[in-house]
Structures are given as C-alpha cells and as structure tokens.
Subunit: 285 residues, 2 copies
C-alpha cells in the first residue's frame, strides 16, 4: 500500500513528491508525463519562480522532472478515474488497476468541472469515465464515447471490439485513427443524458442517440467525480492553510486549490501538503 | 513613495520582490544582505526546493540574490526599527531615515519575540531600538545598550560620543572593537527595566544599573514592536490564505507566518503576498 498517492504531475505534485521522498514515504505520482505535455512546457520565459531567471518553460519542466527522478520518485502515467474511501485508506481506480493509498494529495491542476446534464445522476448507471474498466459490461450493446483526449481514441477503438455499435463524439479534432466500425458524429455537442433507472439516450445539439452506455473520456476527470463528496468552492478544492480538504488524509495543492495559478504557489503548497500527509501518517500508524 | 516595502531579504522577501517587480511596482527590500549572513547560506545540502537537486545553501542563496538583482530589485541594508500607520500609507523608520510605503510585506523570518520585563511599557519613554535615532536625546546622560548584533557595537560606540556614561551588555560574545569609554558588563543578563514616568534603571541578574535610557539592539526587532498592534498567534504573524494580516495593506510571508520553516513555502507565500499587495494597490489608487 502506498503511503501517499499524488494525483497530478505538475509543480505541486512534484514538490509534494520530493518532500515525501525525503521523509522516506512510499509515494507515487499519477498523471500524464510532463515530458510530453503541459502548459508550463509551452511557456516561453518564466521569471517569477525564485532562483531561475529568464528560464524557458521547457527547461524548467525538465529541471523539475530531473529533480524528482534523481530522488527516485515513481511515476504512473495511468489515468486515475475514481478514488474511493475504503475504511481508513483510499483505493484508486487507475484504468481498472486498483491501487491502495493511506493518504492522497490532489494536485490535478485546473479541471473543467462542467458536466453534461445527467452525467452525475447516471454515473455508474450507464455513465462511465473508463472504457477499459466498464466496457465489458456493454458487450453486444450500443454505446457512445464523448472525448477530448488522445486516450479517447484508444478507448473508442477498444469499445469497437466489444460493443455491437459505438458512436464517437469528438469534442476536439479527431486524428482519423479511429476504428472503421465506429460511427463518428461530427460537429455536434452533447447536451443531456437521459434514461430511466439506467441510461437510455444521449441528446446532442442536432440529434439524439439511443444508447445503453455513455463513456466520457477527458484528459482529466472532474474532481467532484474523482472523489465524490470533495468540497469545491469557487471552482476550486476547498482547503485550509494546512492544505487539508474535507476528507481525512486527503490534501490538495497547486492550481486545483484556486488562484493564483503560479509555479511558486504550487511548489509551496505541494510541500505543505506533503508535510501534513507525513504527520497524518505518523499519527495514524 | 514606495508601492511595496518588503521587510526581510530571505526567500519570502525575494520571491515577493521579483513578483512585485514583474508587475512594475516600486519596491525595496529591507534587511541584512544575504551575501554575508543567514542560516540558509550555512545549509550543506538542500533537496526540497523543486528544481534544485543537491544544491548547497551557499549556491542557492547566490542564485536567489542573482535572480532578484538581475530583475532590478533594490536592496536597503538599513535596519527597520519601527513601522507607523500614517493615514492610508505606512512610514518606516530605517535607523532614522523615514521612508513611506503604500503597502508592507513582512518577511522578517523567525523573530525572537521575548522581551525584557518593562521593555514594552517603557518603549519611547527611555527604551529605544535605535541608537542613531534616539541617542541625541541622551546627551550628557547615562545609558545602557543591550545587544546581540554587529550593529550593537557600532551603536554603542556612537552612544559613547554622545552620552556622559555608557554601559554595554553584550548578549553574545563581543569583538573588542568597543570604544574604551564604554563600560562593558560581562557575564550578566538583563532582567527588568524599571522607572517612574521614564526609565530609571536596568536590573541585571547580578547588579542594577542606574540609567536614563536603555537601547536594545538585536538583529531583528520583535514584530510586535516593529508594527504595534500586529496580531501574533503561536509566536507567528496571523495571516489568512491571502497572506493578509490584521492591518490593511500589510501582508506577511515565510517563516514569520509559522511552520513549516521551508524555502518552498516561503517562496510560495512571498508570491501570494506580492500579488495581493498589487491588487490592493490597484484597488486603492
């Protein structure tokens, strides 16, 4: 079991990770590799993080990853689709691999909390955030996948091999690597999910699709879906000065706690969250 | 008039300074040069500030100063002995030079708030934190200087040229560069200041000195004396998540706000304090 699972591989997550490592905790960072993506990498010049003058985002991110790697921080690029409270610990569903952790640090950045009408209501009743997890439940049935990430295409192709019929509603451009069995719905937008006890249809702006399941695959799962019951205030995770959330042993740091969206603040909060998680572990061991 | 006066030249102060500079504010950092002193400089190896792996304190401090200097941050090594609220702005007494600022960021680190019995009661009535400011008031009189800093010796020598009689109670070792007219009181400790309307004597552990004035010269003025009325809680300046204190336009960041005493937290809070000061300036201009 992990001592600390860190959700997010940005500055807050990495700062938390190195500080947990220094205190010899079993820690793992979940999130897409910053080696490939991230807004910070795109920044041309950063001047506001003390110690680095006129550094590019590219170079800064490389230094951050290098620091964490040299300290032996373990990375997991799997997408965490849900976190469950399981007695005194937590279980992460990482695309159908289940990982247990004593504490959680949420450092998942700015997350679009907007959801489709009915999304929350039908979650687990036809709505899913993970095709490889729940796809098999729809063998021989009709599903639709709404997605905005690279994973979305992999997932829709996975569903094509399992379901009788699969629709794909790409929220951004799609790369045409989609399985020919998938019916791509171009230039339309999801509006509402409806059904009875379970999902019956997805209403789009221009049409309605009769489906048994709706898969919503975004780069990031909305935090309120990731950990049901987490307190959100002004679109940010509500924390106190110790970075504590309303869940015992769950902390948050960085952009997900609200403005300012800055590296220095994220790094500082990541440290505080890690130290608080470490004290919690000592008190509860 | 300064937009932002930053009290303290450590990581919190410098982080605040570079972020205020980026936003084109007139900013000045008050405090002893980190080039010469500071606990951070003495650290052998620092691993917990994201981006720097196995860096020495020496090297880190140099990078910090270099960053701030390259961004044009102005330093003032004068000791701020008192801050007064003056209508909608603040006036700093920097060893008798008076500097005005619209906002203040307190980043004065861990300050020993312990005072001598009677110190607060007789402040301004025979007790002073600044020899060059108040020395002339004691021309031809008897004074004692209690001190623990390098400045203390300079100040006691200054008093020797002004007062009839000067005692010096060094709290640490003294360097023997003291004016021969000064009577050094070895191996004793101040216990209480007493008097009537004004100071009459300083009681030490082993003797009592009849004096008209008591100068207390420490590296750092206790925050509660520096800005009378500032709210202190658990030996730290009380702040909210926006680093606001109980004074309008006065923010605090870094070790002075309490644990953890860590560079990353100081840098993050310095940034937040600067951004808050900047919004305050925009709202009140």
């Amino acid at each position: 079991m992990l001592d600390i699972a860190i959700i997010g591989s940005g500055p807050a997550g990495l700062s938390a990770a190195i500080n947990a490592k220094i205190r010899n905790k079993a820690v793992e960072v979940f999130g897409p590799s910053l080696k490939k993506s991230g807004n910070l990498r795109k920044a041309e010049k950063i001047d506001n993080y003390l110690g680095f003058f006129e550094i590019s985002g590219e170079e800064m991110v490389d230094k951050f990853i290098d620091h964490a790697s040299k300290m032996g921080v373990k990375f997991n690029e799997g997408r965490v689709v849900q976190i469950f409270e399981t007695g005194d610990f937590y279980t992460l569903n990482v695309e159908n691999e289940f990982i247990e952790a004593k504490t959680i640090i949420l450092a998942n950045g700015i997350v679009n909390e907007r959801s489709i009408d009915g999304e929350t209501e039908f979650l687990g009743k036809g709505v899913s955030y993970c095709a490889t997890c729940d796809g098999p439940l729809y063998r021989g049935k009709t599903t639709v996948l709404v997605g905005d990430s690279e994973t979305a295409e992999e997932d829709v192709n996975y569903l094509a091999g399992v379901c009788k019929k699969v629709y794909y509603v790409p929220l951004n451009k799609n790369s045409n690597k989609v399985d020919p069995r998938v019916e791509i719905v171009h230039n339309d937008k999801p509006v509402a999910i409806s059904g009875d006890k379970t999902v019956k249809s997805l209403k789009l702006k221009n049409q309605e699709l009769d489906v048994d399941g709706v898969f919503i695959i975004k780069d990031q799962v909305p935090t309120s879906q990731l950990l049901s019951g987490i307190e959100i205030e002004n679109k940010a995770i509500k924390v106190n000065q110790n970075m504590e959330t309303n869940f015992k042993g769950v902390y948050a740091a960085g952009d997900c706690t609200g403005k300012p969206f800055q590296v220095a603040k994220a790094v500082g909060q990541g440290l505080v969250a890690a130290l608080q998680a470490v004290s919690y572990l000592h008190e509860n061991s």
